[in-house]
């Protein structure tokens, strides 16, 4: 710690702090333009100049100068004021003063400083910039006439997003920020640069000319897409979510968001939202009022109870409170057939972890990953399923020089990070590679085996997984396997990342066990700061697991329910917030189930292909319209808050479920959200957490490091590679999440339809060009898709995202790791 004096105030700060950070800690305000909490100090704008007694004779930039013992700092004097004013005058020489038409007006740092320092005239004359605006892309507007060259966009894109879209070009007065070859922006469109820009040079286009910042009501909530649980601050005007506001004060994400979080919330304002209950009459869904719909539901469910039973399938974007009511509904109906999220994907993973470690959640928290020195990401899609968690990994690698290994069947964003090594295997062989890592740890004697059960059995079973053998089968080099194993064993703090979701159901139990084995043998489990991260695809996947929205004793899981319904062995299906036709593996099975069940109820926001086949469709509320809690992938329970009211007669799933339960003769009555949460906490095992305790940072259940119940090593067999000239992988694409993002204008503006991605080598061999129509044939199904050509896929591997219902990827994909396909031009 270092002691210093700022403006007569005695301050003690850590020795790595800068003067600016010390002042801010002491509550002293120093103006800045180029400083941002999450970026490295830069010192471009010269607005933060201060006087230091020990460095007399010149002014010192406070944001780049580290504190030293006994420093005496003055943050304001006549001279400082004069110099800062001059700096502002310099900035305003070329800066166009178009505040009336600039959307930044009202929250512009330059505008605020100009006002504060009373820069009413300019002593310097110069030409105003007259550069062309970049409005080629649909999401980010770049107007370099307003740029003050603080470099925040350049730095955030490099340091945090690790994409590197921007750089300074030219010199002197001509300096400007530009993309490669000064062309239009074409990037991930996460909008991080927009959130960092202190002026109006980078603005969100969907919000262009919509409102002034001071008109917006800000509501802090949690993003409804992936399991990362980023705080999104809804900017609400006239009961409409107009934009997502920058907020780095609260939450887990430090103000970072991905394209989905920042630009993907427009579906809540969509005109296609369901606004009235629909009931099937004479084969047609027609509008009805709530009483009528509820009467039909209660009659239908009662009939099914007496018949062959009811199955309840839930999505994982419901709040904990709503999932609790889903469970309640199942028990009121008297059925054990209850499940969520396709059944297989989460189930295998959690079962595997339960057997090995006795827990079904991540053992660490996100900030620990930032300080890890070795990170192993299982599946290269990790950045695409959880982009903001990916940014945490970027920072660990770029800033703290963590070593990153990726076990993946394709290359991805991660392997462009410095020093990152991809263990690129043939599709579907993750387990083989993980087994080889375990084998290598045991064989080299580096394995941590204290208190671990089942080592001998595992050693025997893994004899066939020596690096050489696995290398021959999977295509990963044996040296790389050895290097990764050695790095993991030697790590002070390691992180093993594993994501799951609907398109990743194959071998999920095996992958979880193999990952847990690796975590145990590498000493990751139980070590301070290390963790195994289990990341659910949906916003509340973890909550659904914690609450046990799972088949009861003797009950059927989601896939079994669908099979049973398809055969006519289940009378009714009650589906809450899930488009099973579009997103579940095996579309035929889902369609057969919906046709086979006598009575189908669906809650949804939109008329999805699933809802279209239902007997009753109830209009539900989006994440922006409800209160409750989500549990994210690091076990953090955070509050979701309603920003707007639902369109028409739509109600929250919770309100609908309570009414349905009442119709069935039972009742749920809680005095308020706190009482309901208490019931949820009891059911989910969130012991000692009360609703009022959940502050802006949320509450992590189980502590920063979750203690595992036991340490069992279990041998799992790997797979055989899929034969065929071309194999199709499915998965998540960066711009979309689940199926609802395909209704949002932002993500759609970038990727609006299904596609199949080819590696450049394959594209050359097939003489394909970007945008060509190709047909994929397998299992007697032919799919026509647009071709996209990238550099990340190895030869013979194709990739198609599963989000788009119209692309019908799930007619080919039935839950296997990869599908052998024929490509026809």
């Amino acid at each position: 710690m270092v002691n210093l004096t700022i403006d007569g105030k005695q301050i003690t700060v850590s020795k790595s702090a800068t003067i600016y950070e010390a002042a801010r800690e002491a509550g002293i305000d120093i103006p800045v333009l180029c400083y941002a909490k999450k970026l490295l100090p830069y010192g471009a704008c010269r607005v933060c100049l201060v006087e230091v007694e020990q460095m007399k004779g010149r002014l010192i930039p406070s944001c780049t100068t580290p504190v030293t013992e006994g420093m005496i700092v003055r943050t304001m004097s006549d001279e400082i004021r004069k110099v800062r004013k001059t700096v502002l005058e310099f900035l305003l020489v070329n800066h166009v003063v178009d505040c009336p038409v600039c959307d930044k007006g009202g929250e512009c740092d330059l505008q605020d400083l100009t006002y504060e320092y009373e820069v009413v005239t300019n002593r310097f004359a110069g030409e105003k910039f007259d550069l062309e605006k970049d409005e080629v892309n649909p999401l980010i507007e770049r107007n370099m006439n307003r740029c003050v060259l603080c470099g925040k966009c350049v730095r955030v894109c490099d340091e945090i997003v690790a994409y590197g879209s921007y750089s300074f070009i030219n010199r002197g007065f001509e300096t400007k920020i530009a993309t490669a070859f000064d062309r239009g922006l074409d990037c991930e469109f996460c909008g991080q640069c927009v959130s960092m820009c202190p002026v109006g040079a980078l603005l969100p286009r969907p919000f262009k000319f919509k409102a002034r910042p001071w008109q917006l009501k800000e509501v802090d909530s949690v993003c409804g897409y992936c399991g990362n649980g980023c705080t999104v601050t809804l900017g609400v005007l006239n009961n409409k979510v107009e934009t997502i506001r920058f907020n780095d004060k609260i939450g887990v994400n430090d103000g970072n968001l991905c394209v989905r979080g920042r630009f993907g919330s427009s579906y809540v304002n969509s005109g296609e939202r369901l606004t009235k209950p629909l009931v099937k009459r004479d084969g047609q869904l027609v509008e009805a009022d709530w009483d009528e719909a509820l009467a039909v539901i209660s009659a239908g469910l009662k009939k099914a109870q007496d018949g062959k039973g009811v199955g309840v399938i839930s999505g994982a974007r419901l709040t904990n409170e709503e999932l609790f009511l889903v469970k309640n509904l199942a028990s009121v109906i008297g059925t054990a057939n209850l499940d969520h999220s396709g059944g297989e994907c989460y189930k295998g993973v959690t079962e595997g972890l339960k057997q090995t470690l006795g827990v079904t959640a991540s053992t660490g928290t996100f900030p620990q990953v930032e300080e890890a020195d070795v990170i192993l990401s299982i599946r290269s899609d990790f950045y695409e399923t959880h982009p903001v968690f990916g940014m945490t990994v970027n920072q660990a690698v770029k800033r703290r020089e963590a070593q990153l290994f990726i076990v993946g069947d394709k290359n991805g964003k991660f392997d462009k990070l410095p020093g990152a090594k991809t263990l690129l295997h043939k599709p579907g062989l993750e387990v083989n590679v993980l087994n080889a890592l375990c084998q290598e740890l045991i064989a080299s004697g580096k394995a941590v085996t204290d208190g671990v059960n089942g080592l001998d059995a595992l050693t025997q079973a893994l004899a066939a997984y020596t690096p050489e053998k696995v290398a021959a089968l999977t295509g990963v080099s044996a040296e790389l396997i050895r290097a990764a194993a050695a790095a993991l064993a030697g790590a002070k703090r390691s992180a093993i990342l594993l994501a799951y979701g609907l398109p990743y159901t194959a071998q999920s139990r095996e992958i979880a066990i193999a990952a847990a084995n690796l975590a145990l043998l590498s000493g990751n489990v139980g070590k301070e700061g290390s963790g195994l991260y289990l990341c659910g695809e949906k916003a509340n996947s973890q909550g659904a697991i914690d609450l046990g929205v799972l088949p009861g004793p003797g009950g059927m899981g989601a896939q079994q329910m669908l099979t049973a319904a398809g055969k006519g062995e289940l009378s009714a299906l009650y589906i809450v917030g899930e488009d099973i036709v579009s997103s579940y593996p095996d579309r035929d099975k889902a369609l057969k189930a919906l046709a086979g069940a006598d009575f189908v109820v669906v809650h949804d926001l939109f008329m999805t292909p699933t809802a279209a086949l239902a007997d009753v469709v109830l209009p539900a509320a989006s994440f922006a319209e409800k209160d409750g809690t989500f549990t994210n992938a690091e076990r953090r329970i955070q509050k979701v808050r309603a920003g707007i009211s639902s369109p028409g007669e739509a109600k929250t799933d919770g309100a609908i479920l309570a009414q349905v339960i009442a119709c069935l003769g039972s009742s749920v009555s809680y005095t308020g959200p706190a009482a309901l949460f208490a019931a949820v906490a009891e059911s989910a095992g969130y012991t000692g957490i009360a609703y009022d305790q959940i502050g802006p940072q949320g509450v992590v259940w189980g502590g920063e490091s979750l203690t595992v119940k036991h340490k069992n090593l279990i041998a799992v067999a790997g797979a055989e590679p899929v034969a065929g000239d071309y194999v199709l992988l499915t998965g998540s694409a960066l711009h979309h999440s689940g199926t609802v993002s395909t209704r949002a204008t932002g993500p759609n503006a970038v990727v609006s339809e299904g596609y199949v991605e080819f590696g450049s080598e394959d594209a050359k061999a097939l003489k394909l060009r970007e945008g060509d129509q190709v047909a994929l044939k397998a299992n007697g199904v032919e799919l026509k898709l647009k071709a996209k050509i990238g550099k990340r896929l190895p030869k013979g591997v194709l990739f198609a995202p599963y989000h788009f219902s119209s692309a019908q990827i799930n007619t080919l994909y039935k839950g296997e790791a990869a599908v052998a396909v024929q490509v026809v031009r």
């Binding site: 009336p100 038409v101 000319f209 919509k210 002034r212 001071w214």
Partner: protein
């Protein structure tokens, strides 16, 4: 005493003589010109092919009576313009802050004060009515 009485009456009767009356025969005979800084009905200033207003939202923000409604949009040239500009005269207190706040001198106040009307709706002045 009579002298004083007559004097008083003279002053009174003098006002009845033609040319000495201060009563304005409004509205049939005459209307007085308003002062230059009189704050009457608002006017949106037209520019060449559009209104001068750029929909910066300063007038609705500063308005103490909250009588101005602006909704901005983008025209074909990519410029910001008011899609809706509405003043509810029943709420307006004619303080002139909107004129003062305007950064582009797009709104001013005219001398017009004859604003009576028959229905409430007629007091809502839309953009076209204000552009004169």
């Amino acid at each position: 005493m009579i002298k004083e009485f007559a004097q008083g009456l003279w002053i009174t009767f003098k006002h009845m003589l033609p040319g000495n009356s201060t009563t304005v025969q409004y509205p049939r005979v005459e209307r007085l010109p308003t002062a230059e800084r009189f704050r009457g009905l608002h006017r949106l200033v037209p520019a060449q092919d559009r209104e001068k207003c750029v929909a910066c939202y300063l007038c609705p923000t500063v308005c103490p009576a909250k009588c101005i409604t602006v909704e901005s949009g983008e025209n074909e040239k990519g410029e910001k313009y008011p899609v809706v500009y509405k003043i509810d005269l029943l709420r307006c207190i004619f303080c002139g802050y909107c004129v003062e706040a305007c950064p582009v001198e797009a709104i001013e106040m005219t001398g017009e004060y004859e604003l009576a009307n028959y229905s409430r709706d007629d007091f809502t002045y839309e953009k076209q009515r204000l552009l004169r």
